[in-house]
Symmetry: C2
Subunit: 717 residues, 2 copies
């Protein structure tokens, strides 16, 4: 891995393509950089100018007084490779390519140029950001090699004034949006350590920068805007590292829709991955998904303030001087999956002493403007916070006038420092900039959006719960009953498609569906004999690697009770299968006992091109096929993850007891999910797809029946 | 109806409880009022002061030089009735009661005081706002009788500078939140005509003010914050009036959750109505639901700018200089139910001429910063807007620097005036205040939130489609086959609960379930004879007004084929029913042919305490009972509304053809919904509840079977 430190913390910067024209991008960069008190040296490189914006210019990067740590390159795309080569030869350790016209452009020329950039970077071991990047900001170094107007020196400094506070970093493929996060977050007085925009990611990708920043250990929250993940291994490693360190990653993935993917594809030449696979990966590692710049910045604010004191549960106490505001916030909390329980009697007694008759302490605690004026917000919270009924507090307030906030400043600072439960503020009026400064520097996240406030608290509670679960010792995942070697051998011997009979034979080595395997009958008489041996109604299914969809092919008959019925069915099935697929290789007819009743589940494995095998689970035929109600998760997975997958299904309540029906045997289903996941993980290079459809899950304690199975192997070309 | 004009447009205002202490609420009001150039007279009324804030004060409202049009009352609650009485006697025409301590307070005293206020207002015909109101702002009159800091004179005038533009009004039960809408909206340079805060609504409610404002005709968009609706008739009348006038109502209802309702109940003494009933009413009249102050203000901005040019459909073209921003917006549009289609070849050719190789015209049109700089936003939109593939345009831009916007001002103004398709702007950076001024006064809605922008466009498209549908001549709703008189008579003769047999007899007069009515057998022999006459498998159901849940009582048996089976079932059912409810009056056993297969639907009517009878429809047993997938609508309803209800079900796709199944006979279901609605509307005073559960809807063209029926009559106490 090239040295990202040389890129983000250079002692000297060469600007290749420097210009004095501050109206153009090339001039703007130096102007932006010069606006901040960076301690290192700037070396403009220009073929035509001797001096650029008051700095001595050099004709070539080879002429610098010392090799620059970082080269910032903004020249036409076609000249970039030669210039990068020159940088490498001159001992430059890192580069940002701001130029456009690489893989994101139409035609092959750009892709080819990008390939050259990658090769040169690799050859010299240079850390290269871009191409098509918008550069970065390193606030601690006061270094902003970017033309983004958001990084220009202005009345708002790069860092908030006052003592250091927890910091966030933004890493975005999109330059404009990356710096827009900075713009939104600075208006909220948040402290950014880095803004990094990675562009086409020819060499370094978003997660590489996240990795560096985590290792550095000075950043508490990461905001990522992803168009794609290039290395799933890096993703897994970095996401897990962040989780272990307790540094939340708040992410948005562009390209969830076809139109969004079209934009992503055309912009950074990244094929946007399947949204469901990304979501499964985010869920697996506790990444927090956001949908808007403001929402993600708001979430970051919550974690920055109370990352060390996350709520122990989802129960929130709401303190308000506006009854309407309190009610609206309560609705939003419930909509976000939080609870707003009535407070306990002792807390209510404590609060009631201070309230007029038209206030109420039940929750929301509508203290009225009068009591809030007397007590102060801090005084009110001191009364409410000890309630054993709540894990966090939301204060509904108006921060429009800084005078009122200034007056309460000392109390609010004391409270923020001492509280053990997180306190989130929602100002229903737009807060004055001075109010934002006071409240944020005191340590509170201050919201102007109701749903953002509620969702942030929910994300904080979820993150804590998820992380505690994740950090527990990992359960033993390999099952003593599995026989990997035997399964490997059977898989190798099989053709590209394993029909039920063959699939079951393989899966049986992992104790999957072994007890319902049935008998393969190669003649009518054999079918009758098999049915007789079973001794109750049977199902008959044609077995052929060439017939994947048996129902459509008329290759299944159910509920056959008598030998005559079995004989007639056998003949009919063979005829029907031959009609449907005249050239199909028919292995025989599978004779199985009818499965007892239960909930229909689909269980499967599909191979995502980026992240590899994902386990899929869904409820019932119509639920999967019409309502698309499925959950996905990467492998391997344990019982906890399997249970979490089931909980994500909209139809999850259907597995519980309802309408006189007993609960389904969820434990058996979870055990099956774990075994199937183990099987797929053990044979990840061989298996393209598995379908167990349907799995019939019986009532609790009664187990389940795998009623069909199919395995498709990876095709080697 | 008292004269709201006297309240909102008084020529003189008496302030009862006036004080010079600007730190208290009583002093603040006069200070706020005096800060604006109101042309009328202020008369402070004070027992102790001769002069208040430089104005001559009067000892009593009776002493004023002329009767005031409006009295603003802020004195302890217990003194309010006597003072209001004095106002009435003195000829004051209207009043605002700002004092708290009425029905929102604990105990009976406050409610009793509120009753007195109501009685006095009625006696004198005074228009009374409140109690527990925060007053109002009338910007055209420069009158702000309120202590809200948001209405204080500040560097931001009540109205935007420049020529008049479309205006909105806010009406909120909550004072704090009502003025918070104003605060948010003014920061976006929106033009407010009124901010009205209604408090406890002892006399005038939110919809009364909406009615006045609609009649006045100078307001284009209404924002409502409701805790409850007190008069459903007013709601219906005003909502329909707004829709006919094309004045969208954007609404949020507080009290959707238990906790929210608790807050509403304690605050304005309004029992928060059932959320589902409110939603059904909003859907019926095309009210647009919002979830946040910022979101509702953003929606208002969209309608204010393009209310006369709403999008003809849901297809949006996205123009951007940021690929990441365009992709993200495309995702948000698709998530909001909009379409982002690829543009047609001709448009793409027109655009491509101007793009560098790394831009793209497909949609999002990623023109790159370079092309946008050359063409200007207006130039780019001129190229894209004519595309027949799109109904509206979203521009992804950065409005951070006003210089760039100023430079393009004339072109943008021209475009806003000329465009026939709405153009919405999303600035991914926070716009400079000057940018907001320029763009808003030019006629654009300017968003800083991605989802708000996408949802606003969706709401605009939906509103146009809904309104066009609503304004079509109303279809004839009464069915020629219904016999109201006969049904009325049968209902009157029935007891409080009509079991299936009795319910069917009544419903048959509306041609509901008439063909599956079956035979009521009062003996085993009669049951056998009835089954024989039917000639195929039958269902037997005990009929008793005392057994509502037949399945739980073991009072239903299905699929009985032979006389022996029927006889045994008859005996078993009677015994089981007697065991379940020994005192039940058993009318007999209903013998019906088994219904052919189909989709299970629940159809019913429930009586909402506020809005009266609502039709309910849901899909299948588990869908209703576990997933709570139901839709509600007020009565009467026609085919269009019935179809819209079905479309709102999450499980709606289950009615369509899928997985080899034919589509369900939706037309028959809709006809049944309309007939049942007609029946319930015709007998609205009699009927508390109707259940048709299940209705079995067969394949298209095959009709449906009403498989059970129950009517519960309203209980007169």
């Amino acid at each position: 891995m090239p040295d990202i430190g040389a890129l983000l913390w250079p002692r000297s910067v060469a600007l290749i393509g420097a210009s004095s024209d501050a109206d153009g991008l090339r001039g703007r960069i130096l102007q932006v950089m010069k606006g901040h008190p960076y301690a290192g040296a700037f070396y403009p490189v220009s073929r035509s100018q001797k001096e650029v914006m008051g700095l001595k210019a050099y004709a070539s990067v080879a002429d610098l007084p010392q090799p620059a740590d970082l080269a910032v390159i903004i020249i036409p795309a076609k000249h970039v490779p030669e210039e990068l080569e020159r940088c490498g030869a001159a001992g430059v350790r890192s580069a940002i390519v701001l130029s456009s016209g690489f893989a994101e452009a139409a035609g092959d020329a750009g892709s080819s140029l990008q390939g050259e950039v990658r090769a040169i970077a690799r050859r010299y071991g240079m850390a290269v950001m871009g191409p098509n990047s918008e550069g970065f900001a390193n606030t601690a170094a006061a270094l902003c090699p970017t033309f983004s107007p958001a990084a220009e020196a202005s009345e708002r400094p790069l860092l908030p004034v006052g003592p250091p506070r927890p910091q966030l970093a933004v890493i975005a493929q999109s330059g404009g949006i990356g710096f827009a996060f900075f713009d939104h977050g600075r208006a909220k007085e948040l402290s950014f350590r880095y803004v990094v925009t990675t562009g086409n990611e020819a060499c370094l990708e978003t997660l590489d920068f996240a990795d560096y920043i985590l290792d550095e250990g000075k950043t508490d929250v990461l905001l990522l805007l992803l168009e794609d993940v290039k290395s799933p291994e890096t993703f897994r490693r970095v996401a897990e590292k962040a989780l272990r360190a307790g540094k939340p990653i708040i992410v948005s993935k562009i390209g969830q829709s076809d139109a969004g993917a079209r934009a992503a594809a055309s912009h950074t030449a990244a094929l946007a991955g399947a949204p469901a696979a990304y979501r499964a990966m985010f869920e697996r590692y506790g990444l927090i998904e956001g949908r808007d710049i403001g929402e993600m910045v708001d979430m970051a604010a919550g974690f920055l303030s109370f990352g060390e004191r996350l709520p122990a549960g989802k129960r929130v106490g709401i303190c308000t001087a506006s009854g309407g505001g309190g009610g609206w916030m309560a609705d939003a909390c419930v909509a976000a999956g939080l609870e707003v329980p009535e407070l306990d009697a002792e807390t209510r007694r404590r609060v009631d002493v201070h309230l007029p008759s038209y206030g109420t302490s039940q929750n929301p605690v509508d203290a009225t403007a009068q009591a809030v004026y007397k007590l102060g917000y801090a005084g009110l919270i001191d009364l409410v916070a000890p309630s054993p009924m709540i894990d966090a507090i939301i204060v509904v307030m108006t921060a429009r006038s800084p005078v009122n906030i200034e007056r309460q400043r000392a109390d609010l600072e004391r409270l923020a420092a001492e509280t053990r439960k997180p306190i989130l503020l929602w100002s229903y009026t737009l807060p004055a900039p001075r109010s934002v400064e006071i409240l944020t520097s005191a340590g509170y996240p201050l919201f102007t959006s109701i749903p953002n406030c509620a969702r942030t608290l929910r994300a904080m509670a979820d993150y804590r719960a998820f992380r505690e679960r994740f950090l527990r010792p990992i359960e033993v995942r390999s099952s003593p009953t599995s026989n990997k070697a035997a399964a490997t051998k059977a898989l190798a011997a099989a053709g590209p498609v394993l029909c039920e009979w063959d699939a079951r034979a393989v899966l049986a080595h992992y104790n999957i569906g072994a007890d319902g395997i049935g008998t393969l009958a190669e003649s009518r008489a054999a079918a009758i004999a098999a049915a007789r041996a079973i001794g109750k109604p049977v199902a008959l299914k044609v077995q052929s690697p060439d017939i994947l969809h048996k129902t459509e092919a008329g290759a299944v008959m159910l509920n056959l009770a008598t030998p005559d019925e079995v004989a007639a069915a056998y003949d009919k099935l063979i005829a029907s299968a031959r009609r449907h697929a005249p050239k199909a290789h028919i292995r025989g007819v599978l004779v199985q006992p009818m499965a007892p009743a239960g909930r229909e589940i689909i269980l499967g494995v599909k191979r995502d091109p980026t992240f590899g095998p994902l386990l899929l689970v869904g409820l019932g035929g119509v639920h999967v096929e019409v309502l698309k109600d499925v959950a996905l998760a990467p492998l391997p997975l344990g019982e906890i993850e399997a249970r979490a997958m089931l909980a994500r299904l909209k139809g999850a309540p259907l597995l519980e007891a309802h309408r006189g029906k007993r609960a389904a045997d969820v434990d058996a289903l979870i055990a099956l999910m774990v075994r199937l996941g183990q099987f797929a993980a053990d044979h990840t290079d061989t298996i393209a797809q598995i379908d167990l459809n349907p799995v019939i899950v019986h009532d609790a304690g009664q187990g389940l029946t795998v009623a069909d199975a199919l395995i498709v192997k990876v095709q080697r070309s």
